[in-house]
Amino acid sequence: MPASIQHGRSANHTLRIVCPNGHLGFAPIKTGSFQIGCQCEPDLICADSGSCDVGPVPLGSDTSSSPRQWQVDDLETMLLASRRLGVPMIVGSAGDTGTNSRVDLFVGIIRDLARKHGLARFRVGYFYSEVSKEELRRRILDGDTVAGLDARPPLDLATLDATERVVAVAGIHPYTKLLDQGADVIIGGRSSDCAIFAAPAICQGFPEALAYFYGKVLECASFCAEPYGAKESVLGEITMDDVKVTAMLPEQRCTIASVAGHAMYERANPFFEHFLGGHIDMSQCRYEQYDERTVRVTGPSYVPAAELRVKIEGAGKIGERYVGIVGVRDPYTIANIDLVTAWARQQVVERFGKSGYELHFSVYGRNAILADREPLKAMPAHELGVVVQGVAPEKAMAEEVCMIATRQMFYARLPQVKGTAGGVAFLLDEVMPASPAYRWTLNHTMRLEDPLELFPISICETGV
């Protein structure tokens, strides 16, 4: 049998982490590969639970994007393994957004599970990540620029006023502090994905460059393995010299291609990973096939930041929202669908004027998904689906905006249409209430004196 990190540790000082899920609570942990991971002597079990990918609604409305029971199930799987093995468990960016309410929710679930299973007493550490609007207002007024990322302008008061809720993205610091205080379970507010894994490694004296890379490679669980299959566990091992990662599902492998491919996943640039306190440069990384299902990586470097700046994320409410759906089959109407939506929009303008609401038409079968960037927008399909969104300050108005636009597509006046009994097909002759509409108002950075200043930590005991 070839050497495998599953079958024996490196002789040197190592730290092993099992990651069972790249977005805890969003889709369930596949427990088969997780149990295999738990048999490989992990020193910790860690998972990220957050993402901006779910859009601005969860942060703005302070909700999670998935049912509570899914979160309970994943936390139960991790907690029972963590307590049985006697190793710490870390979850970052609780409940998608990492807001204070999501941290409290997860801590509450941990307490409930401890009672339910009669677990022996253990220490739960947690920290918050929300930033008050007053703090940001003070900075703007003091001229302490809250700088925009990704070509956004600096934060101004109008944008701040339009913002509902703000979180800052923590680095390793609250995690290392809680680990030093003996936390057995850590529930983190919003934090960098890689920090969740880097923190315990840095606590144990492993080099920062390797530790942050270790986090980078583990944070999405089996996304760094092939063939594609999400929510399966991976096992990582860090030494003073390298990082290794291996797939736990027997059908999956970590390969040079899959691990290097993952290094560039969902980031603008594959060479740099930024976090509070600095970044790692991955341009000199070397990837080697260590055993059949394990890749070994060396060569990342760590670059401390000259100035401590923390990323902040904020969402603001635009209004209440209703959605309508219509279909179109007449080729002439399809060819003139922009005239149909323009007619419908004009009927809304006549009722409500030109402003004070938003109205959007997503034309499926033509260019709903790419909008103006669709190269085939002049070649619509033989059948279109148009999704209408009406957004307004009050529900009643949003419903009416959406209803006028949806209903009036039926009555659109096209000069040469043959069908004069109705211009569109209704799936439902009604419009449906949807989540309120929000937008990302903040994608910015602000200066910090102390990497812990926005992230108050707490520790408590639970169990029996």
Partner: protein
């Protein structure tokens, strides 16, 4: 020169995904060094080609790199609006790669 082939026939992975809330990043990953080099040298995924395909200005491309360890060409473009704003119909940015599949790649 022999007939060209579609990018979807020779690439291992063609994907798009949010890179933060204001950008979408595209990864085109090849199965072997020869194919990777051929596509790079052909220019069919150059900055200019990306601008042409999506109808965007060069200023809309924030990053465009060849990533040797993954045998990948990767580029990132600014979104038309932040992810999940009303009117955005691809919150994860996960279906923006469609126009890349049928790109003709000249045979070497």
């Amino acid at each position: 020169m022999m007939a060209s082939r579609k990018l979807s026939e020779i690439a291992k992975t063609i994907r798009s995904k949010n890179a933060g809330v204001d950008k979408i990043t595209f990864d085109v990953i090849f199965p072997d060094r020869a194919t990777y080099d051929r596509v790079r040298e052909s220019g069919v995924l150059s900055r200019a080609a990306v601008c042409r395909i999506f109808g965007v200005d060069a200023a809309q491309i924030s990053d465009h790199v060849a990533f040797d360890p993954a045998l990948a060409i990767k580029f990132t473009i600014y979104r038309q609006m932040p992810s999940g704003s009303p009117g955005d119909a691809d919150i994860f940015g996960s279906q923006q790669y469609g126009p890349l599949l049928d790109i003709d790649v000249p045979r070497g």
